[in-house]
């Protein structure tokens, strides 16, 4: 790798509202190289990538692509010079088809306009090449979150760029999908012309995909090393910058079973049943049966599209049930509206925060307090200072970085996720539904969230259900795991103590076959 | 009582259908004219269908085309614009539907040029009406008086443009009379009220306001009252609304004005249409006088006005 760097960044600085989020950042990517960009939530990773892709202008600094200095006035400029990006917040347009989304901005043309036939054919081949089974004519809005993430990544790879920027491309993906993606990325750099920047909070991924890694902390580059030579513990120390947190996140690092069990009291007596579902069906689900007890965390595992999200949405009153029976704390429950679900003590963190998680213009404090305002009011008037104090207290252990009095859009992706988790904590619920609760959350805070979930079930009379695409996370946080297959489950559960991530994958797959 | 909703299908029956396309039916002046059209039509065995173009020339065109579709026996028009109505006249001519005008005429020169022809027009002379109001004002203050005048007008219609011209033709003869402000009252009492208040704020020595439409006059009247300028600012206006005529009799704010006779216009028009359809001869032009109204004659004018007090 003695060639000219495909991307060379020097002295990039950027401030929002006079707060510096990037401070003289230097970064070099050589052709044929994957560089991992890691750091705590709000470290400035996405900001850097947005600058590199022309979505935002830096305050200072210069960008060289293929040895030539470039100024990007817009993403279109960046693409012209061979830079393509996948953004943390997906950019796909839900009204358009998959094919149109993939080729938006560089459409195949015929003499009279768009050559849609050619476009869909090319999209079909592309998707097939990457083993993604989606009709390119399907509207993106109808795809699942994971499918959309795959389409987005594939669309970026298709741009025939010299530099590919991937901002947390794996958050919604299943382990095997992640493996596929990593293989694809390695394949792309293999011929030594393309450079990739890969942002992730999952160190395992970083070690399997990246040649070099850069750690950002509070906008400064604090480590720049070949992955081979780096030590995970050291890297974590650089990310967090605080040894105390490293201790608690230790468990997360090693994905072997048992390590998580240490945090749990081995033989706890279960509380009463908080949720019982019998033979529940809806338009997309069929005969689901399971139960959750007070004092336990139940992990839901399944392949993408196995119906877990739909199950949560149904419980929360977002879809109508067609048959079966639900009992909540021993009483019959018929989901009807989120308001009612909330009133009955159900809290829900959705998998796509940007879509239906928070209100962008409201401040973080307002967003966190929104469901529980009735507790902090008299005659309809909000007690602002009380609300503020309560929210800040809840946010404290989550290490939220950013000004909670500013609109929530000003937070980095991971910090927005922490905000939503804080909201759940504020609600004092009886049953918590968490769909990808630590999506995009950094290593330190992730461990903290896991600890908070464990504390919740141990302390109060709460039952928790968790969906996660990370097997390690499920094994870490759950008492037992229920596997969804093909939009149904009979409620058979597996004690996490007896499981490894490999077991889990096999379980999800095996019975599809049988 | 808001018009018939029967269709023109019944042309086979005895009652013939007359189409009337008016300026606006939300202006009480035309509302009164419409009522008179229908009532007088009934007497003559004519069914009158009245449409309003609400200030929009192409709407008027559309309505006249509808009349052609309906094969009405005759059409009476209050033209939005004397020039562009000529197109419609030609279309009516082609369909052999006799054309009558009421309230104001089409551009006769243009008609002659384009070979379009009308049967008759019943006009009230807006220009002389304006002159009448101007003369009343001069009579009120005296020829040698120093008078600051504000005009609340409607600058985008030809009828009101003529009223203003007539009014100014008199005023300009007297060097003591000055028009200090001209604002658009938009034929609306609310706008009339607002521009009149502004006018009086801008010109503390204003003595007279001339309003060329009745609805705006209503607003001007209230503006003067609510600013407690009775006795300082007087109103002179075109209006045939009973409320306004009664005000003249009372004479605190509204000193004098001119009234058109929408009822009479419609009555004469209907009578002439009936005659024409009976193959009798009709005059090509009937002038309905615009009556001056002063405190002295207000009581006698009251029955000719319309609306409620």
């Amino acid at each position: 790798m003695t060639s000219i760097p495909v991307l060379q960044v020097s002295g990039i600085s950027k401030s929002y509202n006079r707060v510096e989020v990037l401070h003289h950042v230097d970064l070099t990517v050589y052709p044929g190289e994957v560089r991992a960009l890691i750091g705590h939530n709000g470290a400035g990773k996405s900001t850097l990538l947005r600058i590199l892709s022309g979505a935002e202008a830096p305050d200072q600094g210069s960008i060289m692509v293929g040895g030539e200095k470039r100024f990007f006035a817009s993403p279109r400029d960046a693409q012209e010079f061979g830079v393509a990006a996948v953004y943390q917040e997906l950019r796909l347009l839900p009204q358009l088809s998959v094919g149109e989304n993939i080729y938006l901005g560089h459409e195949p043309r015929s003499r009279y306009g768009i050559d849609r036939k050619k476009m869909f054919r090319a999209a079909e081949q592309l998707l097939q090449r990457h083993n993604i089974h989606i009709d390119p004519r399907e509207q993106v809005g109808r795809l699942s979150h994971a499918q959309r993430q795959l389409v987005e990544v594939v669309a970026a790879l298709e741009r025939q760029a010299r530099v590919i920027l991937l901002d947390e491309p794996t958050t919604a993906l299943q382990a095997d999908q992640v493996d596929d993606l990593i293989r694809t990325v390695r394949g792309i750099v293999a011929d030594g012309t393309v450079g990739v920047i890969f942002v992730s909070h999952k160190l395992d991924e970083v070690w399997s995909v990246a040649d070099r890694l850069t750690v950002l902390r509070n906008g400064d580059v604090v480590l720049d090393k070949a992955t081979r030579e780096a030590d995970k513990q050291e890297v974590i120390r650089f990310i967090v910058g605080d040894t105390h947190v490293v201790e608690s996140s230790h468990g997360l690092l090693s994905s072997q079973k048992g390590s998580s069990g240490s945090q749990r009291t081995e033989s706890r007596k279960m509380g009463p049943e908080i949720l019982r579902v019998d033979n529940l069906s809806s338009r997309s689900l069929r005969s689901i049966s399971l139960n959750v007890n007070v004092g336990e965390v139940v992990g839901l595992y399944g392949l993408e599209g196995s119906g877990r999200t739909d199950f949560f949405r149904l419980l929360y009153g977002l879809d109508s049930m067609i048959g079966g029976r639900i009992d909540l704390a021993g009483r019959p429950y018929h989901p009807h509206s989120p308001k009612r679900a909330m009133a009955l003590g159900i809290a829900f963190v959705t998998e796509e925060r940007k879509k239906d998680g928070f209100v962008p213009m409201l401040s973080t404090i307002q967003n966190v307090a929104l469901p529980v305002l009735s507790r902090y009011q008299s005659f309809g008037f909000i007690h602002r200072s009380t609300v503020e104090r309560a929210v800040l207290d809840t946010l404290k252990p989550l290490q939220l970085r950013g000004d909670p009095s500013l609109p929530a859009t000003h937070l980095s992706g991971g910090n927005q996720q922490k905000m939503l988790f804080a909201r759940t904590l504020m609600q004092n619920p009886r049953l918590i539904l968490l769909d990808e609760p630590t999506k995009g959350v950094d290593i330190g805070a992730k461990a903290e969230i896991h600890r908070l979930i464990r504390d919740l079930v141990q302390g109060g009379d709460v039952g928790v259900m968790v969906i996660s695409s990370e097997e390690e996370e499920l094994l870490e946080v759950s008492d037992r795991i229920i596997v969804f297959r093909d939009r149904t489950t009979d409620g058979t559960s597996y004690q996490t103590k007896a499981l490894t991530d490999i077991d889990l994958r096999n379980l999800a797959l095996s019975e599809v076959v049988s | 009582g808001c018009g018939t909703t029967q269709t023109a299908a019944g042309t086979t029956s005895h009652s013939k259908v007359i189409g009337v396309s008016m300026y606006s039916l939300t202006n009480p002046y035309f509302a009164a004219m419409k009522k008179s059209f229908i009532e007088n039509g009934k007497k003559d065995g004519l069914q009158v269908e009245v449409e309003a173009s609400n200030g929009d020339q192409s709407t008027q065109l559309a309505q006249i085309e509808t009349f052609i579709q309906q094969h009405v026996a005759a059409v009476a028009i209050v033209p939005q614009d004397s020039n562009s109505i000529v197109t419609a006249i030609k279309e009516l001519n082609q369909a052999h539907i006799p054309v009558f005008f009421v309230d104001s005429n089409a551009n006769t020169k243009l008609m002659a040029q384009d070979g379009a022809h009308e049967v008759e027009v019943v006009e009230s002379n807006n220009y002389t009406g304006g002159q009448t109001v101007g003369q009343e004002m001069v009579d009120h203050y005296g020829k040698n008086a120093h008078v600051e005048i504000g005009i609340v007008n409607f600058p985008t219609a030809s009828s009101t443009q003529e009223r203003d011209a007539g009014f100014l033709s008199v005023i300009h003869q007297y060097p003591g009379y000055h028009v200090v402000s001209t604002l658009d009252g938009n034929v609306s009492p609310v706008t009339g009220l607002q521009v009149a208040t502004d006018m009086m704020e801008a010109h503390p020595h204003l003595q007279a306001i001339f309003s060329d439409t009745g609805p705006a006059a209503l607003g001007v009247d209230q503006a003067i009252t609510s600013m407690h300028k009775q006795g300082q600012v007087d109103l002179f206006a075109f209006s045939s609304a009973r409320q306004n005529i009664a005000e003249i009799e009372n004479n605190s704010v509204y000193k004098a004005g001119a009234m058109q006779q929408p009822k009479v216009e419609a009555q004469v028009e209907v009578a002439n249409i009936a005659k024409y359809l009976d193959h009798k001869s009709v005059p090509s032009r009937v002038l309905i006088p615009v009556l001056g109204v002063t405190k002295a004659n207000a009581a006698s004018r009251l029955p000719l006005s319309f609306g409620k007090v």
């Binding site: 796909l92 088809s97 901005g105 768009i114 019959p332 | 269709t7 609400n54 192409s58 614009d81 985008t156």
Partner: protein, 342 residues
């Protein structure tokens, strides 16, 4: 853009249009004649032209308030040009240029200065309505060119030329939006401007061009009106044109929030409004009642369409009802259980 296996969304409001048309036809025999049908289309052609332009703008989540005033401007510019002895086609070109320039200004300020479209086009509406008044001193200017009269008064066979013009313009607009790269970019900008920008769409071009299209359509509308009236009427278009053109697009399924809608829908909306207006005139509905009748017909029409879509896309009514009913029963039981336990 979408697969044709779905019934086009416009079918709903199209059925409403057909039903309304037939109803008026039943109620008034003169309504459903060829001649009256073309008359109503001719009368609705200006609103339909404006609705086409407005559709481009609304698809980008913009709005163009200046189109009504553009009608007056275009007509007066053409009339003055012809009055000054210029050939009719020069008048036509100048008229179209004037409103397209207004559109260019709108687009540039909206895109580059980021002033809300409502404000920018509010301002140009003022400018475009003042200029004709100032130029003409509020007096209509007669147009004498006979060729010019063909635009609004000519016929090709039984079809008014203006209606043919509308049809051609509508087809071109439809092709642009549904078949070209530019059209896709218009939808993408309206769907999510930031996403479109990140994907490399030239949002500046989209913004500027859609307002120019809207200006051009206003210019065409002005020419049709001027030619029908044979005069440059300085307050033409000041009535309901603007309002009806936006309503037509919205009735036809164009969203005020961008990204959703088609030319076909907007045209159906415009024709629906033309049918109702003409039908009410034919039936001699009192002008006091007309706003009420048109409002209710449109509300009922769109409501039926909305319910139909809701029904087909989501759960069937039966399912919802069954679910509701079950729920009542269950809740009721729960309520009883609760009270019993106390």
């Amino acid at each position: 853009m979408k697969r044709t296996r779905h019934i086009p969304k416009e079918m709903g409001i199209f059925s409403v249009l057909v039903v309304v048309y037939l109803l008026f036809g039943l109620l008034a025999p003169t309504f459903m004649t060829t001649s009256n049908t073309f008359t109503l289309l001719l009368n609705g052609s200006v609103v339909a032209l404006l609705a086409i332009g407005e559709t481009f703008v609304l698809l980008t989540a913009g709005i163009d308030l200046s189109v009504g005033a553009g009608i007056a401007l275009s007509g007066v510019v053409a009339a003055i040009a012809i009055q000054h002895g210029l050939p009719w086609y020069v008048g036509v070109l100048l008229a179209l240029a004037s409103t397209t320039l207004i559109g260019l200004f709108n687009g540039v300020v909206i895109h580059y200065v980021k002033v809300p479209p409502f404000i920018v086009t509010f301002a140009t509406m003022g400018v475009a309505s003042s200029i004709p008044l100032i130029l003409t001193n509020a007096t209509p200017i007669p147009i004498t060119s006979n060729t010019f009269s063909f635009i609004g008064q000519g016929f090709i066979g039984p079809i008014p030329f203006a209606v043919l013009l509308l049809a051609v313009v509508a087809i071109i607009a439809h092709l642009i939006l549904s078949r070209t790269v530019f059209g896709l970019h218009v939808y993408s900008v309206g769907g999510n401007r930031e996403s479109a920008r990140l994907a490399g769409v030239n949002t500046a071009k989209v913004d500027v061009v859609v307002y120019m299209v809207s200006g051009l359509m206003a210019g065409l509308g002005g020419l049709v009106d001027a030619s029908r009236l044979m005069s440059g009427y300085p307050t033409a278009g000041s009535g309901t044109s603007l309002f009806f053109s936006i309503s037509a697009a919205v009735v036809g399924g164009v969203s005020l929030f961008g990204g959703v809608g088609t030319i076909l829908g907007a045209i159906i909306g415009a024709v629906l409004i033309a049918v109702v207006s003409d039908g009410m005139d034919i039936m001699n509905v009192s002008s006091y009642w007309q706003p009420l009748v048109i409002g209710l017909i449109i509300l009922v029409g769109v409501t039926i369409d909305t319910l139909r879509v809701a029904q087909s896309q989501r759960v069937s009514f039966r399912e919802v009802f069954v679910a509701r009913f079950t729920r009542r029963a269950v809740d009721h039981a729960a309520g009883e259980a609760k009270s019993a336990s106390k």
